[in-house]
Amino acid sequence: MGVEAARLALRGVDASKHSGPDALLFGTALPAYADKTNATAIHAALRLSSSIPAFDMGASVGSTAGALRLGLSTIGDRLIVMSDMRTGLAGSADEANGGDAAAAFVIGESDAVVAEYIGGASITEEFIDRWRTPGDIRSKVWDDKFSELTYVAAGRQAYKNALEAAGLSADQIDLVAVAAPTARIGSALASKVGAAKVVDDLTATIGCTGAAQPGLVLANALESAEPGQTIALVVLADGADVMILRTTPALAKYTPVRSIAKQLESGAPLAYGRFLSWRGMINVEPPRRPEPARPSGTAAARTTDWKFGFVGSRDSQTGDVFLPPMRVSSDGQRTDQMEDAPMADVQGTIATFTVDRMAYSPSPPIIFAVVDFDGGGRLPIELTDTDLEEVAIGGRVEMTFRRLFTADGIHNYFWKGKLIRG
């Protein structure tokens, strides 16, 4: 999800006005790896230059507010990626009220800027609200009422301090967007700060999305804001962080590549049993076939551009596209006369397809299609987020970065196809 959000964010930036980021900061409360940096997989999928650093912000909900504040209050072009999956035991409030989401922002100084940072403040609190032992699938919660009182107090103080830092009064804030551990805490604070309008925190539709929530509510605010408006983003996580932004005239010309509303429209119902199996809450009988072997670390290191960046090769003479990349031309006559063929943003058409009810998959059955890409190139590849009934020869497909499976603790990231609807 982090990769997908970052792809949308980078595609939304006018490249003629803004160069790429000079650092990537990634925050999640549910990192795929401990010890190993998680941001590097996103870095590789985005094909950022190896000279651009990629850092994890730590496995807490509050980490992403930190990334955003750091990015906004220091000099430099940053790509901030926030992604989270909210897990909880079956029947828990976290399961019912949680949501999975990712958001990404490109921060920098140029004509492309749609909102300027004009001031912020933080209140740091050490108290037991929610906590989780690393590796557990559930968080525990102390006392809702105690949390609410503590957060509202911290939030109001930070809000006041931020207004001072920005040189604004409360009535000069047009939109307030609050990211809180629960919808109730968020609305309790929002009702007390005196802003003209409270932005929908999407907890009713998507749910509380943990470390992604600050990005999600800020994106929602930006998608509904007019140029010249002030937005206060409040994040309640182990204290409170407030960031105040003013939208620029550039916002008028900015259209999100895929708006939140549009993404919500394209959602589909998911059976609870399937949800539980995806979450690892119930074990589904696997096919009586060998489970996939762990990917080779060294082999993957040789093919990073292909595996993470979905870059094939294009014969510089014939234009033939090879997925995966090849060194030798299709007639066998020429070696190493290829150029990169980045295909992650290229769409394709289904030539033929099938469903495999026997192959191993974390989400069986595997729907699989032979995809012919616009402008050349073919790859037989798994489809995701797709119902079998929708698949047909001639159907249109776009690529999305996914985890295929995990073996020996190694997450096997690669790309899948996804039907383009509508």
């Binding site: 009586r288 060998p290 762990r294 596209v321 192959a359 595997i366 790859l379 990231y413 690669f414």
Partner: protein, 399 residues
């Protein structure tokens, strides 16, 4: 570039074949010993008479030692061969060339596979370390993609496609029911095929070949020596092999309605054997019916049917046991299962029996009596778009 072939230079003078079953009670060694002893007896030779061995197994053993140790061979050269599902056929091809080259006078080919010791369903390749981006689909799913592509291209509706595929399954089980070595010896109905659980795409259980253990063996010599061993040698007319370069997986022009490797292999094999009209000259064919749509396409790639018409020939019974050109008269992979290293030689075993007139009455084909003289065997290994192809043509008479 040339493919001269070795038409009429090499002969099969003895063969053996175990029953193909889920052979819980027999090891790879047991099956190789049984198939080999039957082949020695068939040719009237003993172990020491054989100069060199070729041993085909896809993944049940490594190196020639596996065969040398099982048979306790005494200082014999044994070459282990692997070439996907064409492994057994490929072993015979290599032995034949060694004979034609004059390197040896009498060679033996043993193909064997112990599939059922894994505890898994289907055939599963040993994993080779990779970057995790290769597809992990089953063979059934890869071959099932033929069905919509073929129907779409040639305007064959789903019901007609289904009828043709079901006919292939019913035919091969009908033939297998008449073969004591087959794994499945029951006739099935169209209804059974169509009500079976779906495995991949529109393919159900009975559209897929079985899985079995087995071994088969052949003794080969130069044609001029053949009558030293038997009155009824079977001569090699053609041996053709093509390893595809995977072009179909990357080339959008490949449309999943043909196997180009096999079409090219057939052209080469027919040229080697001097066949000008396969539909009229070939008496029988043992083909790689791993899945029913595979056999359908093979009828076109092997030039038995014109493009887009095999479904009609299938439904008209052209390839039935009593048809014009019987295909898989022994029951095919459908009835035998597919012990990878053995299957190619099992096909040749049926050609050997049919050409020598040694099959039971109920499995006899008419085409030989009607003057056709050639038996074809065919293996493929891999998937649509990326496969190896083997074709042999065999005959009981020298040209």
């Amino acid at each position: 570039m040339a493919s001269h072939g070795i038409r009429d230079q090499v002969a099969i003078v003895g063969m053996g074949c175990t029953n193909f079953v889920e052979n819980w009670g027999a090891s790879l060694d047991d099956m190789m010993i049984d198939a080999s002893n039957e082949a020695y007896a068939s040719a009237g030779v003993n172990k020491d008479d054989v100069d060199a061995y070729w041993f085909g197994t896809a993944q049940s053993a490594m190196s020639g030692i596996a065969l040398a140790r099982a048979l306790q061979l005494q200082n014999k050269p044994v070459t282990r061969v692997e070439n996907y599902c064409a492994t057994g056929s490929e072993a015979l091809r290599q032995a034949s060339y060694a004979l034609a080259a004059g390197a040896y006078d009498l060679c033996m080919v043993v193909g064997a596979e112990k599939v059922k010791d894994t505890g898994f369903q289907g055939l599963n390749a040993n994993p080779i370390p990779n970057d995790g981006t290769a597809r992990t689909l089953t063979a059934a799913a890869m071959f099932s993609m033929i069905v919509p592509a073929y129907g779409n291209k040639f305007g064959v509706d789903e019901d007609t496609m289904r009828a043709a595929l079901s006919h292939i399954a019913v035919k091969n089980h009908y033939n297998g029911a008449r073969n004591s070595r087959a794994q499945f010896r029951k006739e099935i109905t169209v209804e059974t095929v169509e009500k079976a659980p779906k495995m991949a795409g529109t393919l159900g259980l009975f559209d897929c070949a079985g899985v079995a253990d087995g071994s088969a063996a052949a003794i080969v010599c130069r044609a001029e020596d053949a009558h030293k061993y038997t009155d009824k040698p079977i001569y090699v007319k053609a041996l053709s092999f093509i390893a595809g370069n995977g072009g179909g997986l990357t080339d959008p022009n490949y449309d999943y309605t043909t196997f180009p490797e096999i079409a090219a292999c057939a052209v080469d094999a027919y040229a080697q054997a001097g066949v000008t009209n396969a539909r009229e000259q070939v008496a029988m064919a043992e083909v790689h019916d791993c899945f029913t749509p595979t056999e359908l396409l093979l009828m076109e790639d092997l030039q038995f049917s014109a493009r887009g018409t095999a479904w009609r020939d299938v439904l008209d019974g052209v390839f039935d046991l009593d048809g014009e050109l019987p295909v898989n008269p022994d029951g095919g992979l459908k009835s035998f299962g597919h012990p990878t290293g053995a299957s190619g030689l099992r096909m040749m075993f049926e050609a050997f029996l049919q050409l020598r007139g040694e099959v039971p009455e109920e499995r006899k084909i008419h085409s030989l009596a009607e003057g056709r003289k050639l038996a074809l065997t065919h293996n493929l290994g891999g998937y649509p778009g990326e496969m190896v192809s083997f074709i042999s043509l065999l005959g009981a008479e020298l040209d």
